[in-house]
Amino acid sequence: MGLSLDRNKISHWRSVWVFWLQRGLRIYPAHLVVMTAIVSTLFFFRMTPNESMTLGSSWFLRCYRTAPDLWNTCQNALLVSTNLNHITWTLRVEAIIALMFPLLHCLSRWHTRTPWHQICLLSVLFMVGFANPHSVWIPRIYEFYLGLLLPKFLPQWQRLNKRNLRWALAIVLPLTLSASEWSPWIRLNDLLLTMAAILILGYGMHRDSAPFWDAALTRKLGSISYGFYLWHFPVLWFSCFALLHSGILNISGIKTPVVTLLLAIWSISLAGLLGGLSYSFIERPFIELGRRIARQ
């Protein structure tokens, strides 16, 4: 959605290249740093499971079974593969969508009196996504395209009654939560999630909500969110591995909910700290570099 709300005018080839360069500088540096940290940890510490690991879920035990080789590391660096930091699949989606951005942007800004072409295009994108249920990125195109249309509607939303938006959110959000279990209807789930995101954005951009979005804490959370997202998985996994491997849980008999709570507090706090450092020392310098290149 953040990419969708990018209102830069894509008017000629130079701005297209600049856009791609800025997206690359936004996504890759922090990703490469996190990946280097993961590869270094796997290189220096052998992640051999022992009998104490039986408390871990199969999802947890499936990760980092073997140490990565150079080829696998390069694939992960280029986001061709995402087995070193599993959550980077979303980065791959963003990179692919960013490549298509100029075309999608032009299509979304193609104004006619009636928006039938937009509805047809959205329907086609939705059907393509529906026909490819196992594809990670194809279904995201229509979600992204819906987001691209947002700037067109947001000025009208500003005039909407905030209470109506609240009602719409109250209907869509529970549907979204329950839909997470409708696995045969996963594309419907995606649509609901998109609607929820759009409503939250619309609600957030309402003129009465400005104090919330302008608050220092909201801005701070927004700025560290990417770094936090990249760090949270390796921090959680390696912390959990160390905890299980030590065998403390088997000896002490601490209940799983307590361990999960402590693990969440620890890993989220540490990932937040690392996300802040990542933003200050890696992301922000590269964002400014991208801006400087764009101005030239």
């Binding site: 936090f228 959680l236 799983t256 989220i268």
Partner: protein, 53 residues
């Protein structure tokens, strides 16, 4: 939210391995049931589905 959902699926709750795939009516211990509810709330389903695919 994704971070919390990942925390919820790292360990087995009362021996249930695939908590995210187990229907709620098949979960009997209270802690696993609460974890399942929390898991739905934090909606990590999509992320986990991708790991399994």
């Amino acid at each position: 939210m994704v971070a919390i959902s990942h925390c919820l699926i790292a360990l087995k709750f009362s021996g249930i391995d695939h908590l995210w795939e187990t229907p709620i009516w098949e979960i009997s211990p209270l802690d696993a049931w609460v974890a399942k509810i929390l898991f739905l709330l934090f909606n990590g389903k999509l992320a986990v589905t991708l790991f399994l695919s």
